[in-house]
């Protein structure tokens, strides 16, 4: 395995890695696998029919983490990958995904990740996906992830998606099916600046009795960037669902936020809260009265908000 400094920089940004981790891992660079390991409980193998991975977690596996970062350093490279994660019954694991792009050129680079996550009965999974871009070129850094997740009876999943820097264009689609007493929590943190645009489309179908889902989205839009956020919760039975989207808008940015609730059963309890606003003046004044400059105060507020 030959990792250069740039590779490590990107890996670190998307998955906090400083070296190839000891446990189960798959590192993909410019469409090629450059590191792969399985553990006795988690197998990582290539898909047979198309590019991508199958990660299979044995039932009952506890407290293991699998890393599956993707990095793009070749200008103009467009990567498409299909990954499947099967989280075995009653296991409890974390998946650290994420994609880092370095593009110094004038042609666009992009990654399209099509993920399928199946959380078996009673299993728990925490899936963390960070997006990061860098490079001075005029070529765009594009990330279009699409995720379909099924949470089986009594399973629980937490998806955390962060996109804080350097991604010019993103369209994220997330679809979830929740079965009996299953639970899903989606946490999204997004910052766009310059002329970036980001769109997120979440659809959650709560199909099993006692299922629950929560979407907590926070975003900041600066410059002339645009954000579109759609979250739809469909309650087909007795269930609980909540959508919360909270955005800070600055400068000449635009944000469109559309929470949607669909109840198909009188026992479905669905709620939403959406707010878009600029930074509260009194928060700024408060921090400045503690000795921060206006710039420092703004950064502190945004950093906290996106934490």
């Amino acid at each position: 395995m030959n990792f250069n400094q740039l590779d490590m920089q990107l890996l670190n940004a998307v998955s906090d890695l400083r070296a190839v981790p000891a446990g189960p891992v798959n590192i993909r660079r410019n469409g090629e696998v450059i590191a792969r390991n399985s553990s006795s409980n988690i197998t990582v193998r290539s898909k047979e029919d198309k590019p991508g991975l199958v990660v299979e977690v044995k039932p009952g596996t506890a407290n293991e983490t699998v890393h599956v970062p993707v990095i793009l350093t070749k200008a103009g490279f467009k990567d498409v990958v299909y990954n499947t994660f099967v989280i075995g019954e009653n296991s409890d694991v974390s998946i650290i995904a994420g994609c880092g792009i370095h593009n110094d050129s004038h042609v666009d680079s992009g990654h399209e990740g099509i993920h399928e996550i199946i959380v078996k009965k009673g299993a728990r999974v925490r899936y963390i996906e960070k997006h990061y871009g860098q490079g001075e070129g005029t070529g765009k850094r594009i990330l279009n992830p699409s995720t379909v997740i099924t949470v089986e009876n009594g399973g629980s999943a937490e998806l955390e998606m962060y996109q804080i820097k350097g991604v010019d264009d993103t369209f994220r689609s997330t679809t979830a099916y929740i079965q009996e007493a299953g639970n899903l929590k989606i946490v999204e943190r997004l910052l766009t600046h310059g002329r970036q645009s980001a769109e997120s489309d979440i659809k959650i179908y709560i199909e099993g009795k006692g299922g629950s889902a929560q979407i907590l989205s926070r975003s900041v839009a600066k410059g002339t960037s645009t954000q579109i956020f759609r979250a739809s919760l469909v309650g087909k039975t007795r269930c609980i669902g909540h959508v919360e989207c909270d955005s800070i808008i600055m400068e000449d940015a635009r944000i469109k936020s559309t929470p949607e609730l669909v109840a198909e059963d009188s026992e479905a309890v669905l709620t939403h809260e959406a707010a878009i606003g600029k930074i509260a003046g009194e928060q700024l004044i408060k921090l400045m009265s503690l000795g921060l400059t206006e710039r420092e105060a703004i950064d502190t507020i945004l950093e906290g908000f996106l934490r």
């Binding site: 926070r218 909270d246 509260a280 009194e282 928060q283 004044i285 408060k286 921090l287 400045m288 009265s289 503690l290 000795g291 921060l292 400059t293 206006e294 105060a297 502190t300 507020i301 950093e303 906290g304 908000f305 996106l306 934490r307």
Partner: protein, 248 residues
């Protein structure tokens, strides 16, 4: 010494007509002294604090700190020159913890003093350091955290705006003890407490009574007390009955 000279503040009233909320205010706050500002709600007490901190710009008048005119300095510059203000109604944040905020207030604070700052306002550090200064905290908790920040700053000029609101009587006793120990007779620092608390009024070196944007009276407690006694005792009773005498 902090000196306000002929300060006038005009705001846009709710009916669109300009309103003078401070009129010709001149006060000298000397070092090593504790000042209490009192008077009815709407009298202009908080506005004076905001003028000193640089949050409100007077349309006339000047402010001097140790001889230097600071009228044109912004909030941050005044904070860095040693002015510290505990808001009457502190804002809430998202994703900023109690520990973060005290550390912003006092960047070099060590863990011992960080914890002490919270204990001094009756909060257990273990329970609070990691918590968001957000909607999950009550008005009283937010208020105590606000006071803790000012205590932690060790500033030359400290202004506390109605510290008694939302703080139980026992903690208030303790806070008064700290104020006495820390601020009173310390020749380098000036403490200004906006208050209706009898005990604070008694221990102050000077009471300033503000009403309708003007100074109605000022002087030593024994001189001022007879003038405000009835009002204050009435307020204290409200507080003891557990009513919200001060909106949070």
């Amino acid at each position: 010494m902090l000196r306000l000279k002929n300060i006038f503040v005009t705001v846009n009233g709710s009916n669109g007509v300009d309103r003078e909320i401070l009129r010709d205010i001149s006060i000298e706050f000397k070092s090593g002294r504790l000042y209490a500002i009192t008077g009815p709600n709407g009298g202009g007490k908080t506005s004076i604090a905001k003028v000193i901190m640089g949050i409100y710009k007077p349309n006339r008048g000047e402010i001097y700190l140790n001889g230097e005119e600071i009228s044109n300095l912004n909030v941050c510059e005044r904070a860095r020159r040693g002015i510290s203000y505990a808001f009457q109604h502190p804002p809430r944040f998202k994703g900023i913890t109690v520990g973060d905020l005290i550390q912003i207030a006092s960047p070099d604070i060590d863990s011992f003093n960080l914890r002490a700052a919270l204990r001094n306002v009756g909060l257990c550090p273990e329970d609070y350091l990691e918590r968001d200064v957000g909607p999950g905290l009550s008005g009283g908790e937010i208020k105590r955290i606000e006071i803790a920040q000012v205590l932690a700053r060790n500033a030359r000029i400290s202004i506390l705006d109605e510290p008694e609101a939302g703080v139980d009587l026992w903690t208030m006793q303790k806070l008064i003890g700290i104020i006495v120990e820390k601020y009173k007779n310390n020749p380098d620092i000036t403490t200004i407490i906006i208050t209706h608390n009898q005990r604070v009024l008694e221990i102050s070196d000077e009471i300033i009574v503000l009403e309708d944007g003007v100074i109605k009276a000022s002087g030593a407690p024994h001189k001022i007390w007879p003038l405000i006694k009835d009002d204050i005792e009435c307020k204290m009773k409200e507080q003891c009955r557990g009513e919200m005498a001060y909106e949070l």
